[in-house]
Subunit: 194 residues, 2 copies
């Protein structure tokens, strides 16, 4: 259900086609809400039917056309309403913690291998988050740049600072995961040694 709000969030920056969205999704909103294009296209259609978006047929090449989606006033109002509505707390559902709780069923070597994999995943993820954060700070991030173009200085400041704030949260979370993984190595060594 949050997918539609992620889509409106993106489209408030600038009008886009479904294809544009599925591309820029991976470099921006996907860090907080991932979705494949097979979900994006039908959802855009639904949102248009419900009046949250309108679409404009834009020529593409000689014969082709593409559909550019714009947020309607109604869509913006619905987005603001969602923004101010209470958040439903997320249930925990993380296989990594489930596995960790039952590491005694696995071979210590297999546990170390798992931890190595997780560490490299989170290290990469953290590096990517930090690169993106830097591109927000210097305002070179394409999606953000398009968004703040039409805003005044104060509005732009707000938009940028809150995006950085979101990334700071994601970065803190990644660091916490990495620290936990390192504790895992220490624990395996201790329990395997005795």
């Amino acid at each position: 259900m949050s997918l539609r709000w992620a889509l409106i969030a993106l489209l408030t920056g600038r009008p886009m086609t479904g294809y544009d969205i599925s591309k820029s999704f991976s470099t921006s909103v996907a860090h907080v809400w991932h979705a494949p294009d097979s979900q994006i296209y039908p959802e855009l259609n639904r949102m248009e039917r419900e009046g949250l978006l309108t679409s404009v047929e834009v020529p593409w090449g000689k014969k082709g056309t593409k559909k550019e989606y714009h947020v309607t006033d109604e869509g913006l109002a619905a987005f603001r309403a969602w923004m101010e509505s209470p958040l439903v707390p997320q249930r925990q559902r993380d296989p990594a913690y489930l596995k960790a709780a039952y590491f005694d069923f696995a071979d210590p070597a297999a546990v170390r291998e798992q931890l190595r994999q997780q560490r490299s995943y989170w290290e990469e993820h953290l590096a990517m988050l930090e690169r993106t954060r830097a591109s927000l700070v210097d305002r070179s991030h394409p999606t953000l740049a398009a968004r703040i173009e039409k805003l005044n200085q104060r509005e732009a400041e707000l938009a940028v600072r809150y995006k950085i704030y979101a990334y700071d949260g994601l970065i803190a979370r990644a660091r916490t995961e990495l620290a936990w993984i390192d504790d895992g190595f220490t624990l395996v060594d201790e329990l395997d040694g005795c």
Copy 2:
């Protein structure tokens, strides 16, 4: 797909009925993997059909019977195989971060209200995690107690330590969320003041 591994994990502790499971789920595995009973019952049936579990009809009262599920050797082998298989990294999908990135669309008062709600949710969640961790340390946690009964001292030590490790991770995560929320308050005050 992890649901079945969560169920086997629980059932390795002691045989249980679907009802037992749905009850003890909320006080143990649910912290890492939540599921409602409407998912648990069909999944237990499927797992029995696939040979991962067997069930024994146990009398209940005068007329009633209940179905107690036991993990088969095949089920245990499948569980170990999963434990040692690589972990598929989870996609980020968290409405809290999505909202935070677009707080500039909401009223500062509404943002503060959101943050208050999230803080009280995480505070409660953290307190619950710490209570559970304490009950693991002193081995009073019922599910854990049932599990370690049939284990030798060394095996019990492993089981307990890894469960504590999992909770330490969850607790660290909760603390990170709380710190992030507090940063949110500071940021709103700063941006609203100017």
